[in-house]
Symmetry: D2
Subunit: 315 residues, 4 copies
């Protein structure tokens, strides 16, 4: 496009991006009779020299979103899916380096975990039970997340998870808070603390010159540290527990500089059984839906700049 | 009510029921420092001598739904929650035997499983790590179901599960089907077979005189048999796999007389990579959302009457 | 299939059905520059001589679900979509009459309504504003439903809707109910009554010899009568309001013999503002999610048999 | 707190906020027999001097989230709900000005529209039909949004909507795009263009000294301009249509300086009916779920700074 057809008048185009969202790609790898699954939901978002398509509808600089979809599936064959992060890096590099008008690619990926169905029965009909290496059940716990952004020189990798629901049935208190004219809450010295973790963490791997982290191991370790911090913190507030969760990651995983949490306080209210002549000794709770507390923070390695958007929220 | 105020005219009241749905009760049991969770969603539905409330709005025979909610929470304290089935039996018996106008109670329960957070770190702040016996993560796999119906003399217990997603990455074929003028499907000799199991099974325990099944063990065994049958069946159609899943339950669990499945065929389409000069050797699949095949059947013990409604469907 | 390969042993096949669910078909009809939309979600379910596919995996009697999908789209062209009911009748008749092993077809359809975008501006860029007859906004209110069942001789048509949320902000009371030891509810003499209507109604059109109802007009009239009955009933219980809604349909629509409702009582609790020195004179409510009352009933024309399954529930 | 108990080590606290999310408040205003509804979902998020609660769990600066909930309900009584924006302004001002440690409040509100049930029947039982001024049906179309942010001196008001689904059944093309080795898409010269609008727009009202916009009228006008621009643009790409929608707002509404859209391209694929001997003359479409194009941009008044976060996305 040589002619910029920006309309006359007071209107300007700001940040813009486009691509194909939610490409559901499943990759089966066969190691003899033993199969392996990678199950991803891949969203591509591209930016660059895209004024014209907004101004005049000229698609001369537009790689169709359908093409970005095809590329996701083709790359699953060409590169395999070693990890969601590595797969996103292949894709982002491709879009930025192969199309001149594209200056930036952001790849978001959700990953769903599967585990093998263990069989030991002797009553298999066609095959010996110990040969069943192609049968899986979806794990169904958290959804793993990653977001890869590349501008041709610098990488930003933010991984994370959502929908990991945890509960401490004791060792949580809440008291000593501000009381104003709208405060009716009673202080609690032994309550349930439960949340559904939505967390994201940013890697300090930013250039091809650096050694790439082991993405799979990093994920497992981060999840472990988060869960341990949640379990082991005697909590006086969900903020304190959240900060411990983030600190544990920063302290133990040198590849990570920043963590962001968005934690709903999934209230479990002690039910008043007195009207029925019963004493509720921290036994029977009502699990409420709405409203819920929502506690969010960034936890950073000292001296690092925060880059994870604060609006990647649960809400 | 001595006066039946049925309106004049051609209108009749048919089957009716009412109650409080989705009471989210969480029960914590403390065995010293070791805690146990039961996490249920309990729905109460009552029927009986309820014409008047429909005709005139007289609530003289109506136990409020709010009271049924209170009863759920009170019973969690009074009886504990040994199993979802046992808890439902306590509730159903109570409503039918304590209120003369109530002739039938149906209790539906969803149960969400939790597992312990395993900790072994030495860096616990307040407590020794091996003391953490009150920290849980939601398992997040299938939702367990039960439905208890009681009319004052006979019990019907239908248990089940939903959202258990399984996949075989080979050993599935589909060919030899009817071809009419609208048929374009190519025969498949090695395809992915995946489904999200929604299943229900009916117990032959119907009276208080019979020995009650071990509900917890029964559930674990039924789930195991279903998964094994899914994994071990070399499949020529999802119907065949489904029938094997049901048969395995009937053959192995004498407490169960009837099984009903509603199985979406979660299509994984092999992506055509030829336009990109690539060969897709059963490696790269597109996981489709809609439309999907939906395969449903009842599998019965010989001589038994089917009682599970066919409309407890996925759709 | 001449050989029935029913497995030895105590296992029997019961009711079974299969087909392609959730075919999302959109039909545009062009009347010159004026376009019309029909937007449906069509699910096909077939039954018949299907033992073998369950026993041995032989697909010799199985019309593929993929073919049933193709048929939905082809019929949208061949017959158009006059109404969801008429479209389902075409499909059901086709499957039962064209394939010998298929003895029964059930077609379920959801319909989404659209309305025209009204334009009157003079600043249209390419076209005169009053020519814009191809632009629509989804109405977004209730989802219309129908279910057509055909066994080769008799039709059953059950239509309905879901997700129609209604509220009366006064003229609702609840008192005079049973009080047992678990009752804490206070009587209410002016409360909000709100529900999300899920209703189904059965037509007495059952054979090709009868004159077919005007499906579109019938739907509009039934919806109108339901809404009017809801608005005009001074309510002493949701059951009473529900019975009025059903009665109004039976009394006014001779083509309908049976109605079934599943009505969640969407509780709006008056908030206690006394702790803040404020009087809440039926002004400020908390709209609760769970638990909720669930009120269900069949309302019938005198002398008719109920046929709408009671398990087509909201739960 | 006089002692800052920031832990030793490399960990820092970054941006943090907390509050009660999703307070479902319904306000009924009675103008004689004529009632009016405001139905909101209000989320409060507060920031300020909150280090200690993260470091040590001291709640000395923490106004409980339960109190923020109470405040929402109390303010519905004290101030009424003139508009979502005005209600959010009352709340934000209160939190920032009444609690010294709170330096910033962000109020997010969803609003659900209701319309009156029109009645004209003569068969009302208790009341004259034309007196029914307290009966409503939820409109069910888009959800209206607003977000109010206040730091004690400057206001930021970003309003918007989501889930407004629109379709043009013609006057949309897509051709002339980049073709690389992964491109298989055929050019289209008459296609369906459909999207579910998620939009946000920022007001240039930022201080109490300025005249406040008429929030209700502004919303109606912005929605109208968006719909008209969608209907009246002959589209060569969704980007072009989106830019027109934003431009129309900027050009017509002087109170708004910035618009951000996140528009899924809800693909309607023309079904290939040739295998069945049928010609599909832009009549029968398959409405696909995933994947979908996702087109996002900011449209600004010339010279204004973009402030709407780009991550308030559909994805």
């Amino acid at each position: 496009m040589t002619v910029n057809s920006r309309p006359a008048g007071p209107v300007m185009l700001g940040q813009n991006q486009y691509g194909k969202a939610e490409n559901r790609v499943v990759k089966i790898t066969r190691d003899g009779a033993t199969h392996h699954i990678k199950d991803l939901n891949v969203s591509v978002s591209l930016s660059g020299d895209m004024e014209e398509v907004h101004y005049s509808g000229s698609n001369a600089n537009v790689l169709p979103t359908d093409t970005t979809k095809n590329t996701v599936f083709a790359f699953a064959k060409e590169y395999g899916i070693e990890s969601a992060e590595q797969f996103g890096i292949h894709l982002a590099r491709h879009f930025v380096t192969s199309q001149e008008p594209i200056h930036r690619a952001r790849i978001r990926i959700e990953e769903y975990a599967w585990e093998r169905i263990e069989t030991s029965d002797a009553n298999s009909r066609f095959i010996g039970a110990d040969e069943v290496k192609h049968s899986f059940v979806r794990k169904g716990q958290e959804t793993r997340l990653t977001q890869i952004t590349y501008d041709g020189s610098t990488w930003e990798v933010i991984s994370g998870l959502k929908d990991l629901t945890v509960m401490n049935s004791t060792n949580s208190e809440f008291w000593g808070y501000v009381k104003d004219k709208y405060t009716t809450l009673q202080e609690a010295h032994d309550r349930i603390l439960a949340t559904s973790v939505a967390g994201r963490w940013r890697f300090n791997w930013t250039t091809d010159e650096q050694k790439m982290p082991n993405w799979e191991k990093s994920y497992e370790q981060v999840k472990k540290h988060m869960l341990h911090a949640f379990a082991e913190t005697y909590s006086l507030s969900l903020q304190q527990t959240m900060f411990q969760m983030g600190s544990r990651i920063i302290n133990n995983r040198s590849e990570i500089d920043e963590v962001r949490f968005s934690l709903p306080n999934k209230h479990h209210f002690l039910v008043d059984l007195e009207p029925f002549g019963l004493k509720n000794d921290n036994e029977v709770y009502f699990a409420a839906d709405r409203p819920y507390g929502l506690i969010e923070a960034t936890i950073l390695r000292d001296g690092c700049e925060p880059r994870i958007p604060v609006d990647l929220t649960n809400l």
